[in-house]
């Protein structure tokens, strides 16, 4: 069960609209390495992980990803609210506006809709945690790409916060992977799948 807190994890207060920047940042809302895919990935993987500490970490990080999903939506909203038809026509935001007006909708920067094909829930703790570490790095790279082309300090500040969280999550997933490996045969971690093979799991 979840309960909503009516606050952002980190504040977002953008004064200047910018539809081009909004379209870049929208990718972290519904793109391949976006925040909702991160959350869905960890929320889906946690059921088959046979170690409570690791399932607990997946739950807590997935919960923070929903908070990041909300921060990204807030950035996109504040970058696009009050846009005029002239401003939309002068930008590349027109096609998005035709389909969604100024609503927030999960898509990648290039227009591809949010898609579960962009993550896995594989049912093997080592495989899943390796994917999770890669996912955090992919999101970190996306934020680095954003930071190279976006210069408004009101946008840069929360994006830097989100980038730092990717690094922290990567670190925690690395530790979770070590915790899984400590349950397994150190001579061959891949001899069996502790989420499926009943005889698996002794050192």
């Amino acid at each position: 069960m979840w309960q909503y807190e009516k606050r952002l994890e980190y504040p977002v207060n953008i004064k200047q609209t910018d539809p081009k920047t909004a379209q870049y940042i929208l990718s972290q809302y519904g793109g391949p390495d976006g925040e909702i895919n991160a959350s869905l990935r960890y929320l889906s993987q946690r059921y088959s992980i046979p170690y409570r500490e690791v399932a607990g970490l997946l739950t807590d990080i997935a919960t923070e990803e929903i908070a990041h999903f909300e921060m990204i939506a807030t950035i996109v909203h504040q970058l696009t609210r009050d846009l005029t038809p002239e401003e939309i026509k002068a930008s590349n935001f027109g096609p998005y506006y035709i389909d969604h007006t100024l609503a927030v909708w999960p898509q990648a920067a290039g227009g591809v809709p949010q898609n579960a094909c962009e993550f896995q829930s594989k049912g093997d703790p080592i495989t899943d945690l390796m994917e999770d570490m890669a996912a955090e790095q992919k999101a970190r790279t996306t934020y680095d790409n954003i930071l190279r082309v976006v210069k408004d300090p009101d946008v840069v500040d929360p994006i830097r916060f989100l980038r730092a969280r990717e690094v922290v999550h990567f670190q925690r997933f690395g530790e979770a992977l070590r915790m899984v490996q400590e349950h397994l045969d150190s001579k061959n971690f891949y001899a069996c799948n502790p989420a499926f093979d009943k005889s698996c799991g002794c050192k």
């Binding site: 069960m1 059921y47 409570r52 500490e53 399932a55 607990g56 970490l57 739950t59």
Partner: protein, 88 residues
């Protein structure tokens, strides 16, 4: 809630019941924010919920991070997960 002591499963059942009533009433209040009867109904169940959650966390461990035990050991991560079944 009667005054009979409840075991973990019974207390969690009770939390589920009063929490659902409070939550369902909150949805009603979102669209009827001045309904005085609903306001006091919500307040009654919220109080029952907060009391039951406090009792549960003291006896059986944290339900949320706010109730996480920091007395020498972080028990939050190793708590039973709700999808494991058994209602406790």
């Amino acid at each position: 809630m009667n005054n009979m002591p409840m075991n973990q499963s019974q207390l969690l059942d009770w939390i589920n019941q009063v929490s659902f009533v409070a939550y369902d009433t909150a949805l009603y209040l979102d669209t009827h924010p001045y309904d005085e009867e609903a306001l006091s109904f919500y307040n009654h169940y919220r109080t029952l919920r907060l009391k039951a959650v406090k009792m549960y966390e003291e006896k059986y461990g944290p339900l949320t991070l706010d109730g996480a035990d920091t007395d020498g050991h972080w028990s939050w991560g190793s708590m039973r997960n709700p999808w494991e079944g058994g209602n406790c």
